[in-house]
Amino acid sequence: MACGSTSLWAGETSWFCCGSSWGPCGSTGTGACGTCQSGKNMAAWPNLSAACWSVTNPAACGENMPRRGCGSVVNVKHQCSGATVCVTLADCGPNTQMWCSEQTCCNGACRTHRVLDLTPAAYSAIGSLSSGLLPVYIYE
C-alpha cells in the first residue's frame, strides 16, 4: 500500500520493541493488533480504538488525533532532515498523557507531546535509535 501525503498530525515519536526479539524485548508481545514486529516498519498510534484512547488519553495534553485502526498506513517524516518512512499501525501507544509538555526540537523548531511510537526498523529509517525521540510530521 502506498503512503499518502495528506497531513494527519505532528509531534514527537519514540520507539519500542515488539514481537520476538532478544533481551527484555523477548517478553513483549505482538501488540494490540497481533502483528507487531520490531524488524518491520510498524507503529503504535494512541487512538487505535476506544479502549486504546482511554489508556493513552492524548486529550490530557490537548491532542485529539483521529482514530486509525490496525493496518492503517501513515507516512512519517523527520521534521528537519526530511527523511521519511511508511509504516503500518500495529499497536496502541504511546501513553501520551504521561509526556504532556515534553518537546523535541531540531533547527530551532520543536514538536510537543508523544503522538507516535515506531518499531526499531521504522525509527532507524529516519533517525538514530540512540536519540530516543524525534520531531515528526505524520501524513496519510
Binding site: 527484555p24 516498519n41 532532515s81 526499531p120 540512540s130 530516543g132
Partner: protein, 202 residues
C-alpha cells in the same frame, strides 16, 4: 548533511565492504555517528518494499569484522562492519566492543553476496517503559511489564529528564512509583540494563 553526502556515504559503505575503498576519514562524510548517518533525506518507503536492510538479532559469531547474526526465526545474517560503520553500545564504540551473545539492530546496504554492509549498528539498545520499584546508589529496581529488572546507574553516563524537562545528571528526583522510559544497553551476562537516559513522565 546534504543528500549528495548521504548517497556518497552509501557508495562508500558498499565499496568499503567490497574491499575496494580506502577510508580517508570521517570529515568527508560529516561525521560517523549514527545521528549524522541518518540525517540525510531518504526516499519514502512503501511498507512492502524496503530499499535498505534492517537486521534484528543476536551475535552468534564474529570473524574478521563480520558479525554472524541470528534472527529470532533462526535465519543467519552476515553483517559487515567497515570504517564507515557507526556502532553504539551505551556510547559510540569501536567494533572491538561487540561481543558474541550481544543483541543488535543494524541498518545497512544489501551486498551482492547477501551480506549487509552496515551503516549503523546499535548493540544491546533498549527503550523500555518501566516503573521504578526501588532505588539504590548505583542501581534502580524496575518493573517492565510483568518482569523485574535492574537498571544500572553508570557514572558520567546516566542522565534523567523529569516531566519533559532538560536532561540532567542529578537523579535525586527519582521516586519509587515513577513511570518512566529507559533508554540503555542491555547486559546479556546478568540481564540488567545500563541506563543512558531515564525519562520520567507525569
Amino acid at each position: 548533511m546534504s543528500e549528495r553526502n548521504g548517497l556518497g556515504r552509501r557508495r562508500l559503505l558498499t565499496s568499503a565492504a567490497l574491499g575496494g575503498a580506502t577510508i580517508v576519514g570521517a570529515s568527508a562524510l560529516g561525521g560517523l555517528d549514527a545521528d549524522a548517518a541518518f540525517a540525510a533525506p531518504m526516499p519514502s518507503l512503501d511498507p512492502a518494499v524496503s530499499t535498505s536492510v534492517f537486521v534484528d538479532g543476536r551475535v552468534g559469531q564474529i570473524r574478521r569484522g563480520v558479525l554472524d547474526v541470528v534472527e529470532a526465526d533462526g535465519t543467519h545474517k552476515l553483517i559487515q562492519l567497515t570504517n564507515a560503520t557507526s556502532i553504539w553500545k551505551l556510547e559510540t564504540v569501536t567494533a572491538e566492543a561487540v561481543e558474541v551473545g550481544d543483541g543488535l539492530y543494524a541498518r545497512g546496504v544489501q551486498m551482492p553476496d547477501g551480506s549487509v554492509a552496515a551503516d549503523a549498528v546499535w548493540v544491546n539498545i533498549v527503550n523500555l517503559y518501566v516503573t521504578i520499584r526501588g532505588i539504590e546508589r548505583s542501581r534502580l529496581h524496575l518493573s517492565h511489564g510483568r518482569n523485574a529488572m535492574v537498571g544500572n546507574i553508570v557514572e558520567k553516563k546516566t542522565t534523567a529528564s523529569f516531566r519533559g524537562g532538560a536532561l540532567t545528571s542529578n537523579l535525586s528526583q527519582l521516586r519509587i512509583g515513577h513511570h518512566a522510559q529507559v533508554l540503555g544497553a542491555w547486559r546479556p551476562a546478568d540481564d540488567s540494563v545500563d541506563i543512558a537516559r531515564i525519562s520520567v513522565g507525569h
